[in-house]
């Protein structure tokens, strides 16, 4: 998270420090865990910025040992959980989560329209991904028009007036352009009908095909076969 790297409130501690201080606590008491984290008050470790406690041992382990000694392991876990929740809440509402200012209108707003338009001088390249200088100029034009309060349709109409229908991702339904809209469904329906007719014809042919006659006992070949099987079996 970018907000963790910049701390516009130097009087507050960065997350990793406050968490460390809260966990170690120096004096090691279970009650001190949320206090050290949540209050942003100088913890005892401010005098000793090392993660080691005053007696030279790792604070966290030290804390565990002490808590264990008091038999309050469950309480410690609850306290730890509380500490984590507190840190999370503080992060969520921290005013330090500043991000870079987006230009107005934003790139996303520009691209919503740009992806519906095609570069007038490149082959089949949508305007939102086109890398040329000309396309950058056209995206700037979209931004400028959006800034002036133009609607999406007004901007598209402007582009069509300037550069012709070919800038539109979907051609307007008029004249020969209707073929684009009518042909695919017509071909699909026609193909479906053809398939259905063909399958029906096949099924009918299969139904009407003469069924093979059952093997007759009188057939000399069957008799020979039977005899041969008996002799071998």
């Amino acid at each position: 998270m970018a907000g963790l790297h910049t701390n516009p409130h130097p009087e507050r501690l960065p997350l990793h420090e406050s968490k460390l201080r809260g966990w170690s606590g120096g004096a090691g008491g279970g009650d001190e865990v949320p206090e050290g984290v949540g209050g942003f008050r100088p913890s005892p470790l401010q005098e000793n910025p090392s993660p080691l406690s005053a007696d030279g041992r790792w604070g966290k382990r030290d804390t565990w040992r002490r808590r264990g000694g008091q038999g309050g392991e469950g309480g410690t876990r609850v306290a730890s959980l509380l500490a984590l929740v507190t840190v999370g809440l503080m992060l969520a509402f921290s005013p330090g989560r500043a991000s870079a200012q987006e230009p107005t209108p934003s790139d996303d707003e520009v691209n919503v329209i740009a992806r519906q338009l095609y570069c007038p001088v490149c082959e089949n390249v949508p305007l939102d991904v086109c890398p040329t200088q000309a396309c950058a100029q056209w995206r700037a034009t979209i931004r400028e028009k959006l800034g002036l309060g133009w609607t999406e349709q007004q901007i598209k109409d402007y582009f069509v007036a300037q550069y012709g229908d070919r800038v539109l991702a979907a051609p307007p339904p008029r004249g020969l352009n209707w073929l684009v809209y009518l042909l695919p469904p017509l071909v699909l329906i026609g193909g479906g009908l053809l398939l259905w007719q063909t399958m029906r014809r096949w099924r009918r042919a299969a139904e009407q095909a003469p069924t093979p006659a059952p093997l007759s006992e009188a057939d000399p070949y069957v008799q020979r076969l039977e005899e041969e099987l008996k002799r071998r079996g």
Binding site: P120, T132, A134, Q137, A140, G164
Partner: protein, 186 residues
């Protein structure tokens, strides 16, 4: 096969009409495709052809109709601010237009798929004073069937194309020569 499996005359007729309709549709589509391809392969308007008629609305709001320029030599230059080769000839075109300020030779700049802000900046950068305007809806470039920018067409006073330059003019002399050739053909 028994009697019922044979197609009736009406179903046979329907099938025949269906086949005819499919073939007509397919051939129609092929014809359209062919026409499109022929049009695409035509190339720019050539020397000796009639100049396509067009109307240009300049950046200053003036409307110029090609029909009104009959009897004059006309140089139509297609350019764009994003076109780097166009920059090579921009200053020479302006110089040539200054040489022919006698109203018998008219220079027109047609700004092909461009943005107005950049186009105006381009004109200012090269100090271009002859009439220039956007190719609205790419109608003029389509009429001339240009393949790119820059392209220049010199039109003789009789309205026929005297010369076509694909790419930038390489010198002022080249522009002058093409105009003089168009004048000589008067």
């Amino acid at each position: 096969m028994n009697e019922t499996s044979l197609p009736t005359p009406s179903s046979r007729g329907n099938r025949r009409w269906g086949t005819v309709a499919v073939w007509v549709a397919v051939l129609g589509l092929l014809a359209l495709l062919g026409l499109g391809l022929i049009r695409r392969q035509q190339g720019p308007v050539g020397v000796g052809a009639r100049m396509p008629e067009f109307t240009l609305t300049t950046f200053d709001g003036e409307t110029i109709a090609s029909r009104d320029l009959q009897g004059k030599v006309l140089l139509v230059n297609f350019w764009a601010s994003w076109c780097i080769p166009c920059e090579q000839e921009a200053a020479e075109l302006e110089q040539a237009s200054q040489l022919y300020s006698d109203d018998e030779v008219v220079f027109l700049g047609v700004d092909y798929v461009d943005t107005e802000t950049e186009a105006r900046a381009y004109l200012a950068r090269f100090g271009i004073t002859y009439p220039n305007g956007p190719d609205l809806g790419t109608r003029i470039s389509q009429a001339f069937r240009i393949r790119g920018v820059p392209e220049s067409y010199v039109v003789a006073p009789d309205g026929t194309i005297a010369s076509v330059k694909i790419g930038p003019y390489l010198s002022l002399q080249e522009i002058v020569d093409s105009i003089e050739a168009a004048r000589g053909g008067d």
